[in-house]
């Protein structure tokens, strides 16, 4: 399965997703600049991505914990998600996300 990531410079990277990994783990494994400070514990909001509009509705619904943690994200938009909370599955093959800007 593919995960297509646009970095903060606008560069597009097509990454190989792995069943059971989170999108955050796939992105970090490719050494793209994603802080993910809490390592996926949904406790830092530094794995923040924007999800491409066509994929937004196909993602499993956000858990309350993620909605609340996004209160600590910077530059949050309607299509903001925490990538550590997106699990890679066959249904998400081709998922497109963009790395959100970081804290200055």
């Amino acid at each position: 399965m593919k995960l297509i990531v646009t970095d903060r410079e606008g560069q597009v990277h097509t990454l190989e997703g792995r069943e059971d990994w989170s999108a955050m783990e796939v992105i970090r494994d490719a050494n793209l600049p994603l802080a993910a400070e809490c390592g996926g514990a949904c406790a830092c909001a530094t794995c923040h991505v924007y999800v491409d509009d066509e994929w937004l509705a196909k993602l499993p619904e956000q858990q309350q914990q993620e909605i609340e943690m996004l209160d600590f994200g910077v530059a949050v938009q309607e299509n903001s998600r925490l990538s550590c909370q997106i699990k890679m599955t066959d249904e998400l093959d081709g998922l497109k996300v963009t790395l959100a800007p970081e804290s200055l």
Partner: protein, 348 residues
């Protein structure tokens, strides 16, 4: 002996100054203490525990040897208990800003003016210092410390001003309630109509909005307007209204903390990709009598685990002893069988 928290601004002399008060720093106090070495610790957080206390206080850890399960806060509490006999001194809510030579040792100065002189420095800065997140709004840095603040030091600064608070956590809500009575006008800006804050504060805020004593905008901040560091207004944006402008003299963004390497980068110690290379015998940096332990260091095979950091602290302490007590002989002892160690621990 007990654990001391020192007021800001003092001058101190000790054997070892530790930068950071995360789990690795705490256990280092224990290993140093067994060798009769005294320690002072500096942390920008207002309490001990580093990542364990800040990022996952309630989450369980399963790989501390001999402890089947303990939470981040639980481990911190146990470490604090364990080091109590050695009477460490903590300097909380202070950033270790500079490190310079002082006699045959070192002087660490904090952003609150505290000076600590010690023969040995241990950098246990972990993933970096926990500092407030800064929203990436173009030009925001030009307004910092004049119109944009990430913490409230003096409330009076906000008296009779048009204050905008951004965020939806407890800090945002608490400061909304605290500043609303003294501000000329107060606006809370958050991206959704929900909060990660105590329901009581949220209810109080909503009551103030209903009484027209403050405004709540579900929006994001797009731009800042003003001149010469003085903020005059903000462009907010949401689905219903698109972009619109509001007046603002003060902006307080509260989006929690993030880990930034911070001043350690300027300490003159060789860094490799923001980590400090050390040897694996003493965990000493390329500068003699400056050590680095825990998440901040790097060496072949390094694992960022609490377990590994504890080991690093034990070996570091042996070499620290040689610097601090050059005329004394280092004696290897077990806590189980040494009555002198047990005396230090207060159990003999």
């Amino acid at each position: 002996m007990t654990t001391n928290v020192a007021p800001a601004g003092g001058q101190h002399k000790t054997d070892v100054v530790i930068i950071g008060a995360g789990p690795i720093a705490l256990f280092a106090v224990f290993e140093l203490g067994l060798l009769d070495l005294k320690a002072h610790l500096v942390d920008i957080l207002d309490r001990a525990g580093g990542q364990c206390a800040e990022l996952y206080p309630e989450k369980p850890i399963y790989d501390i040897p001999g402890i089947v399960e303990v939470t981040g806060q639980g481990l911190t509490d146990r470490l604090m208990d364990q080091i109590k006999p050695f009477g460490p001194t903590f300097h909380f809510s202070q950033m270790a800003e500079s490190l310079e030579k002082a006699g045959d040792g070192w002087r660490v100065t904090t952003d609150a003016g505290t000076q600590i002189e010690a023969r040995v420095v241990v950098i246990a800065a972990g993933g970096g210092s926990f500092t407030p997140k800064k929203p990436p709004i173009p030009g925001i840095e030009a307004y910092e410390n004049e119109s944009v603040f990430y913490a409230v030091r003096k409330m009076d600064r906000f008296r009779d001003k048009v204050v905008v608070i951004a965020g939806g956590g407890d800090s945002a809500l608490d400061w909304t309630l605290n500043l609303q009575p003294i501000a000329k006008k107060l606006l809370l800006v958050h991206h959704r109509d929900g909060f990660r804050a105590s329901p009581d504060s949220v209810n109080k805020m909503r009551a103030l909005v209903a009484d027209r004593k403050m405004e709540f905008h579900i929006a994001s901040i797009k731009a800042l307007h003003g001149a010469n560091q003085k903020l005059e207004g903000l462009t907010l944006s949401n689905k219903e209204r698109g972009d619109y402008r509001v007046d603002a003299e003060m902006l307080l963004p509260f989006f929690g903390l993030t880990m930034k390497l911070g001043p350690v980068a300027n300490f003159g110690i060789g860094l490799h990709e923001n980590l400090i290379p050390v040897d694996t015998e003493k965990f000493e940096t390329s500068t003699k009598s400056i050590f680095a332990i825990g998440d901040i260091n790097t060496y072949p095979g390094k694992l960022k685990l609490i377990l590994s950091g504890f080991h690093e602290g034990a070996l570091m302490a042996q070499q620290a002893f040689r610097y601090c007590r050059p005329d004394e002989k280092l004696r290897f002892q077990y806590t189980t069988s040494s009555s002198s160690l047990q005396k230090k621990l207060g159990v003999a």
